[in-house]
Symmetry: T
Subunit: 73 residues, 12 copies
């Protein structure tokens, strides 16, 4: 959690990002997509790391995140 | 989780549905109600099963669900 | 959870409230802020209690809550 | 949990009910049996769902419940 | 847990206390009510902290406790 | 777990069964399919209950089970 | 859990046994003490293993058990 | 979990993969090795991430996976 | 987990061993039985300790183990 | 967790504070005592809340904390 | 936890002890080794029980403990 | 855990490492910093993966580790 300013309130979103490349990239995709509608995201926490397998090969990483953002005013 | 299409991002809602009849019916009530405002729900996961007792009889089942849906474009 | 009326559906928000004074005050701040946009909150559950330390003194309590409210009609 | 009246205290019992038919029926059997000695049961929470298999067929469902009831006066 | 005397056996009760004032007061209410029927309580452990909201204000704290007491002789 | 006969050893399989009808039916499908290759299944435990949603309707229940069976002699 | 006979209901007690000798002995002490007031105990499950240290030596083992017994007729 | 086709049953394997390079590489090594004996793997879930340290340097990542695959016919 | 050699992959079995004597003996019985079909077991982890009670006396200890072994080549 | 400056490393201590007055006071006592030997504490997280009962009255609150502090240079 | 004297603060160490003989002996080895540098240890809690297997035989028990001791003055 | 030599005792440290680059790099930073004061680190386990977001972009990964090292003599 971020250094709280006085009496701030945060809301937590839960998102699933996916990527063919890496766990970090799946996190970035989730945060990047959320940025279209949410401002002031402050932190994330990884809740689960999963993925899909096709033809006996890892095809996607899927990372479930809790993301905290400031509720303004 | 559904088979992820390339780099999709999902959001997870948490809902509580109730029913006098069955656990499955409580799940359906929660999903049906959410369908009024959320499109493209893909999966659910049961987090908790509870219920109320009146006059020493089970009166409602209450099921807490996490529901995933696609964040479009 | 509240005494369920027939086939009601509830949604759960996750919030973080903070206070310099007490855990109870951090809970109240989170609920009070959420009241600006959510009606019909019914119950909360404390998920985590944390805080910040500055100059070797507790500076804020930060309480993560799950808050349930009725989805109308 | 039920809507608390002022300063009520509840006690929680832990029970295991079983049924050859369904999970809901195992819950009802546990609550019905407890009703012989406990008054004022208010809510239950499913802690675990198990069962027995005989001749490669599911024979019983066994559901472990926590059941809350009011401690009077 | 208390410092065990030789080969003592303890039993654990699970209680829910509530208070309009504070988490500590909800704990005291549960312990005080249990004292009417149980002697020799030694320790408690907070299992869950919840509460009710009415008119967008916290109305009660509800604390679930496990309470240990000595089984005599 | 079953009443253990002297010094028996059990092995635990983890399975996911699915059904369009009910949670109980998903359990039965998993046990029935495992019965093709495993003898002497004794008990199961539900680890997770999930499902898929299509067109805003629950389409399948998916139940993850741990299933215990006797390792013979 | 024991092989359930038809529609039996079990109740679960939670106990803490202690012993200066071994974990097994602490379990036996708890079961032996409970046998003074409870009939038809069927199974136990270890929830926690703790102990006390005096003069830098282990002095007691303390084992928390959940014990299931049959609720008759 | 994959989009379930009608009444499919899946089995879950638990594997530990290791790699000197990255967490993703440890996952791929486990899946690649399992592919020698298991067909139709569909998804994985990371259960634990550990590693070994030699000469004060990270030497291996070790990732424990649950891997689901279709039980045919 | 054992000191990993380069890029080894391990598989995890889950077993339940029982003994009338001790927890350690139940572990040894499970490992000894598994040794009839599995080579190269490297480590175990205790997941649960339970037991059966007959005539108010502990009759068996039942220990659930996860056991890791090397997948060769 | 605090806003991380570039590549900082934190260490986590685990402490138990006690107080006859309140949960918040038990937290402050633990942090205050740790301040005698640790500099640069940044955050805490409550892991467990317990307490002692004497003469059927709550006598102490005992709060287990994880406390993070900066490892310098 | 021990009976707290007024406003005492405890610190928790986490240790892993091992023994070829028994779980109890692994606990004693950890406590005995810690006694070389820590005074006033008061209680322990078993966090995990694992072990190593060589030649299909249990070779060591490894027990992870949390150990509490008094912070003086 | 490493292959235990006879009756060794390990101590577990809990650390948080951070990195702007990757989860693996955050692990390496924590281990590298601890190496300044601790010898004979043997293994680590990832307890939590979090991070900070600035300007809607992932800025740091923060990984909480438990690190085991040998207590000599």
């Amino acid at each position: 959690m971020p250094t709280a300013e006085k009496d701030h309130v945060y809301k937590i979103l839960e998102l699933v990002g996916s990527s063919e490349t890496s766990i970090e990239d799946a996190i970035k995709n989730a945060v990047g997509r959320a940025a279209k509608t949410v401002r002031d995201m402050k932190w994330f926490e990884v809740v689960q790391t999963r993925g899909h397998i096709e033809n006996n090969t890892v095809r996607h990483y899927q990372v479930t995140l809790r993301v905290g953002f400031t509720l303004e005013g």
